[in-house]
Structures are given as C-alpha cells and as structure tokens.
C-alpha cells in the first residue's frame, strides 16, 4: 500500500508553506490573541470594561470572566493552538465575535456607557471577525481537496474519511464478508439496503441525518482477498468513491481492514451544509460501521444493550419494544 496516499496531510503541509498567505500561522496568531484577551478578561475585568467603554460594575466584571466571554476566549485559544488544522475552533471564534459585537451594540443603548470607546471597540472586533472568518474558511476541511487518486480526481470539493479496524479473521474471510454487499445493511447502522444489479454494480440506500440518499455503485477494482474499490455512477444523490484494503496483520493476528472514502455532496447551499455535517461525522460513522463489521465477523451479530437498542437516549433498563427477532 502506498503510505503517502494514506497521509495526505504531510503533503498538504508542504504545499501550504508555498502559498503566499500562510493561514496556519495566522490561526496561531489568533490563538495567542484569544488566550491573551481571555486572560485579561479573567484577570482584570475592570480595566477591560473601562477600555471598551462599559460601566465597571460587579455584574459586568462577573460577565467578562464568565464562560460567555473570558473563559470562552481561553477555551478557543487553547483549541486553536492545540489542533494542527483548527478550522472548527476558528468558527467558534467567529461565533464568539458575533456574541461580542451583539453585546457591544446593545451596550450603545445605555447612557452609563462611553459611546466613543464602544464604537472604537466595535470597529476593532469587526476587523478581527473578518480576519477570523477568512482564516476559518481557508483552513476548512472542505478545502482539503484530495487529488492524485484516479477516483477522487473527479471531485472538486469533497469530504474524505479514513478508518481502519483489526478483525480476528483471515484476509480471505474479511474480503468475502465485505464483498457480499447485500448483507452489509444487516449490521451497518447507516446502511438501509444494498441491492445487487450485476456482479460489478449495486444500488445503495443510506439513511443519515433523517434523510435517505441513494446511488448506484460500480466496482472499479476487485483484487480478491486484497482490495475492493468502488465509485458511484452519474445519478448519485451523494457522489462517492472509496477503497477498502485487507492487509494481513503482523504476527498473523488477523487482518487490518483499511477504508478510505470520499463523499461529494450535491451542488448548492443545502449541499454545502450537508458537506459540513458529513465532514464532522463521516469519520465517526465510518468508525461505527467498521466496529459493527468486526462484531459481525467475529461473533456473528452486533451486540446491543438495553440502552443502545434505542436511537435516542434511554436509561439502561428493559423496555417493552426491545424484543427483536432473536
């Protein structure tokens, strides 16, 4: 297996350094700024209240320290500095900026506050908001276009999910278990159904976020006991492609199943928001499905508890509707 292909971030890092504006460095700067401002709000709320022009009262000082302002700044600062690609934390900054702007704008109404200082503060925060927004956009995972792989090259923007799972089975067993697509929905929670059209083509229905998505998948590569690649055909609700590789684990300890998938949501703004949700959850969904795959192959079914059998939160006690076909 080509190792470079599995670690695209290492390549992207090198590319990032070539671009004229290095958004990662800006993000770092914003992270330190968040920390400093947060520390000031927590340590010296009185001085800060004076600087932005609001009344230096106990309520305002308490508010400045609270999770809504000071603690929030510190948290986002730590988040940004801790993550190699902190776009979500930058979006949190943008949201925080909007809270600040709203608060400052409301403060303009009160005669107790210094309107000149407030206006200056609003302008300053507005400037930072623009910078946060641009940086967040440029670091967003949806901008993480993956090229170079033949299946992926078709997509201009997409979400990539990569996960692996170890199973106590031979590569041949794992491959055959996967290759029989029609029984995958029996244990993969997000799959509604898979219908075989012919040996290489199948129809997939997926249930996610309360909606059903459908596509036809074409097998593009099928190396028995080693790898399967697929690609959706033209009319797909969500364009997608992927590869699953079955690698014998070291020491004969079963098989490592690697899955590498791309999703490209439909065009339009609904598609873009879907992309965001997918970007965040695709990895977790894939991990859940792979865990279910291991259980199905190792113990023959997916184990449920009195709570997990329900789609929403339920206490760990039996319920009337818990009986299933056993």
């Amino acid at each position: 297996m080509n190792t470079n292909a599995r670690f695209p971030d290492a390549e992207n890092d090198a590319e990032d350094n070539k671009t004229e504006i290095n958004y990662r460095r800006i993000a770092k700067g914003l992270g330190w700024f968040s920390l400093a401002l947060g520390a000031a709000e927590v340590a010296a709320p009185g001085i800060l209240a004076h600087l932005v022009g609001v009344r230096n009262g106990s309520v305002n000082r308490w508010l400045l320290r609270s999770p809504m302002y000071g603690m929030r700044e510190i948290a986002t600062g730590v988040g940004i500095l801790n993550h190699p690609r902190p776009s979500e934390w930058l979006w949190a900054r943008v949201a925080g900026d909007l809270v600040d702007l709203g608060t400052l704008a409301l403060s303009l109404r009160s005669d107790e506050n210094d309107r000149r200082r407030l206006t200056a503060a609003i302008l300053a925060v507005a400037g930072i908001t623009v910078l946060d927004y641009i940086t967040a956009q440029n670091l967003a995972p949806t901008a993480d276009v993956v090229t170079g792989s033949s299946e992926a090259a078709r997509f201009t923007k997409g979400v990539r999910a990569m996960k692996s799972v170890s199973v106590n089975a031979t590569a041949q067993q794992a491959y055959s278990f996967w290759r029989d697509f029609e029984h995958l929905p029996g244990f993969m929670r997000h799959l509604e159904s898979v219908t075989k059209i012919d040996d290489d083509r199948s129809r997939w229905r997926v249930n996610a976020f309360g909606k059903t998505f459908e596509w036809e998948a074409q097998i593009t590569e099928d190396e028995p006991n080693r790898r399967i690649s697929w690609c959706s055909t033209e009319d797909a609700d969500i364009e997608n492609s992927g590869t699953v590789v079955f690698e014998p684990a070291p020491g004969g300890r079963g098989t490592i199943v690697h899955v590498d998938m791309f999703y490209a949501p439909p065009a339009g703004s609904a598609g873009a928001s879907l992309a965001k949700v997918l970007g965040r959850d695709a990895g977790q969904m894939l991990a859940d499905d792979l865990r279910a795959f291991r259980q199905a192959i190792e113990v023959g079914e997916v184990i449920q508890s009195d709570a997990s059998i329900h789609r929403t939160m339920h206490p760990a006690q039996p319920s009337q509707e818990s009986r299933r076909t056993a």
């Binding site: 106590n168 977790q284 190792e298 184990i303 508890s305 009195d306 997990s308 206490p315 760990a316 818990s322």
Partner: protein
C-alpha cells in the same frame, strides 16, 4: 419486575420496570437469587462516574437461575444455577482470546464514548454507566446476560449463594490484585484498603505464598476483620501512624515487596482535602492518595498492583520514585472469566470461604438503605447482599 434504579446523586430507588427480554442470539435471562452492592457502586451513587441516566438499573455482582436462553446458547439451559461475571465478554476477539476478558473489543455498544475518554474502549459492564455500554444491571428480579456461552459459571447445588456470589467480581478482583504481585515465597505484601476487595486481596496473597501481609485502613472494624478473618499478619491505621515510617519499620527499611492499591478514594486529612478540592474544581477526577503512598513505600524493584477503580486523571503522581527505583506497575479491571473456575475449585476445596465479608442481608426493596449504610459505614457495614 422490581429493579434498583439510579435516579441521581445519592438517590437510588427500587421501581417497577419491564422484564428483560432476549435481544441478541447468545443472550440468557437469569432470575436473580442474590445480588450485592459493590464498593464501585458507591462511585455511581456519589455521582462520580459520568454518562449515567436517571432510571439506569444498577448492579454487577449477581447470581441466579437461567430461565430463558437465546437460540445460539449451547452451554446453558433453563434451570442452571449460575454466577455471572461483571465484564461482558465475547470470548473470541483478540483481547478475550489472550485472557483479557475485561478488555473485550466486541461487547460495548457505546465503545465510542470510552474511546474518547480513554483512547480505547473496554468491555461492556452490567449496570455501570452508558460509557460501559448501557447494560441493565443485576440488582433486580431478572437480568439479561449477553454472551451467555462465555460468562456465566454453573455452580454446584451444595454451595450456598453466599459462598459463590462473590465469584462475580470481588473475589477474582482481590485475587488478581495479589496475582499481579508475582508473589515469591517469603514475600511481604502491603494492602491499602480493607473493604471486601482488600480482604480478598489479603487472603489471596497468603494463598499465593506471601509470608507477611500488612493491611492498611482507617476503620477499626475493617482492620479487625483483615486480621481475624482474612489473615493479615499486621494492621496499620493510617490515621494513627505515619504509613511510610511504619512500613519501613516493619520491613527493616526496605519496604514491602509488593503493594496493592485496593482503596476507595480516601486518605489522611490533609492529602484528602487537597485531592477533594482539586476534584471539586475539576482539575483531577480521582483521588490517588493510596496509590501515591503505595509507590513511595514499595521496595526497589517491587511491584505496585492497582485494583482500586480510577476513572480519569490524577496528579502529583510520583513518577520519579517509580522510574528511578525500577518499580513495576500492574493494573486492570478484573478478567473475571479467567479466575472463576480455579477460584470455585478453591472454594470447593475449602481453601477460602468468601462469605465472611457479608455483614448485612436485605430484601431488594431496601436497596436504598443498603447503599446509605454502606456509604456511611454504619453498623460496621462491610458487604450488603440483596435478596430479590
């Protein structure tokens, strides 16, 4: 059925809930005849374990009679009398096949939560939070037991419930604590905590060949039981003596060959206050007072065996002492399935009679009283058994 439900912090209630049913093919339904309150249930009772939901049925130490089996259960049939181990284990994954049953990779439906907290998940556990799977527990009239081919152990009718009930958790846990010490003839073992698990760790250390076992606690009746029933050769009350000095005195300055941490989160006043405060501020999640002492006390090259339950993060961990003095630390939730059969044999052979820890037997409906009494150590409470 009636079941003891966790409602909130320091609040449990026996309620009417639906009867359990077969969900997976390897399930069995067990009618409970005896169940116990575990020291680790007090962590739940105190609200220290996250991911609890109001209504969760508690209890992971239980036994009873099989009343229904799923289609894939071959090892059990209706009417079998069984003790059920607290970890739920599939028996076939890599962890289970290497004997690490409490680390089963297939039995926790909410593995993703514990992966977020611990990096990797462990087995599902009966009645012990949603992070551990959201399985209903056994402080109830009936319980659903997944992977019934693997866990439940059939027990002979001649033995009373009280003699075999603790094979479900605390006897194997105490035994594993001693086994992890790799005891050599003549070894001196110190055990922090003389609750039921500590008592069994003491007795097990002696069974495994220790020459002296030093029991450490603060509660006189527990120390008394350690000496008179479990067989400790020495007892130390940490509220009366300075533990490090006393241990050096007893071991000629060298320290115990191995130390077992079987302590609830307690310790001398100042240290306790320090950790309690940090915990309240959410700067640490556990109070590792016994663990710190055990590490510092252990002889060079010795072993520290941790069976007391920890959930998250600790601080002031004496890493320098551990590293520079070539110590080994061993730990784990008990792999109960590994120890049940050999320990049952020891019970049959009369090498150990675990019922000495039982101080109270109550009807299930009085579970709330049992929890309260156990928490407050009232009436010399050591172990409460509930009868549904």
């Amino acid at each position: 059925m009636r079941a003891n439900c966790w409602i909130g912090k320091r609040h449990v209630e026996v309620r009417n809930v639906p009867d359990p049913q077969i969900i997976n093919r390897q399930d069995a339904i067990v009618k409970i005849t005896s169940t116990a309150i575990c020291g680790s249930d007090l962590h739940l009772y105190n609200g220290l374990i996250p991911t609890m939901e109001s209504g969760d049925i508690l209890g992971h130490e239980f036994m009873g009679e099989v009343v229904e089996v799923g289609p894939d259960v071959q090892n059990l049939k209706k009417g079998d009398r069984v003790v059920v181990p607290f970890p739920i284990s599939c028996g076939v994954c890599l962890s289970c096949s290497s004997g690490l049953f409490s680390c089963c990779e297939n039995s926790n439906p909410n593995a993703w939560i514990s992966e977020k907290v611990w990096g990797h998940s462990i087995a599902g556990v009966f009645g012990y939070s949603h992070m551990m799977g959201g399985f209903a527990g056994g402080q109830a009239q009936y319980v659903r037991v997944p992977f019934a081919n693997v866990g439940p152990l059939k027990v002979p009718d001649e033995l009373a419930d009280e003699q075999v009930l603790f094979l479900s958790d605390i006897l194997p846990t105490g035994y594993m604590g001693a086994e992890m010490c790799n005891i050599q003839p003549g070894d001196v073992i110190a055990v922090w905590g003389c609750g039921p698990v500590g008592q069994f760790a003491i007795a097990s250390a002696l069974m495994l060949g220790a020459e002296r076992v030093i029991a450490i606690d603060r509660i006189p009746y527990r120390l008394k039981m350690a000496r008179e029933r479990a067989g400790a050769t020495d007892i130390l009350n940490y509220e009366q003596v300075e533990i490090q000095e006393a241990l050096k005195e007893l071991t000629g300055g060298r320290g115990p060959d191995a130390c077992i941490d079987a302590m609830e989160a307690h310790g001398p006043v100042v240290q306790y206050a320090y950790d309690r405060a940090k915990q309240a501020l959410m700067l640490e999640t556990d109070r590792p007072i016994a663990l710190r002492q055990a590490i510092v006390a252990c002889r060079n090259g010795g072993t520290v065996s941790v069976i007391g339950v920890y959930g998250g993060f600790i601080d002031k961990f004496p890493m320098g002492s551990l590293m520079n003095r070539s110590l080994t630390i061993r730990t784990g939730q008990c792999h109960v399935q590994r120890y049940m059969r050999p320990l049952l044999q020891r019970i049959v052979d009369g090498e150990i009679d675990p019922d000495f820890v039982i101080t109270h037997t109550l009807p299930l409906d009085q579970a709330a009283e049992g929890y309260d009494m156990f928490l407050k150590k009232q009436d010399d409470c050591m172990k409460v058994v509930l009868k549904p």
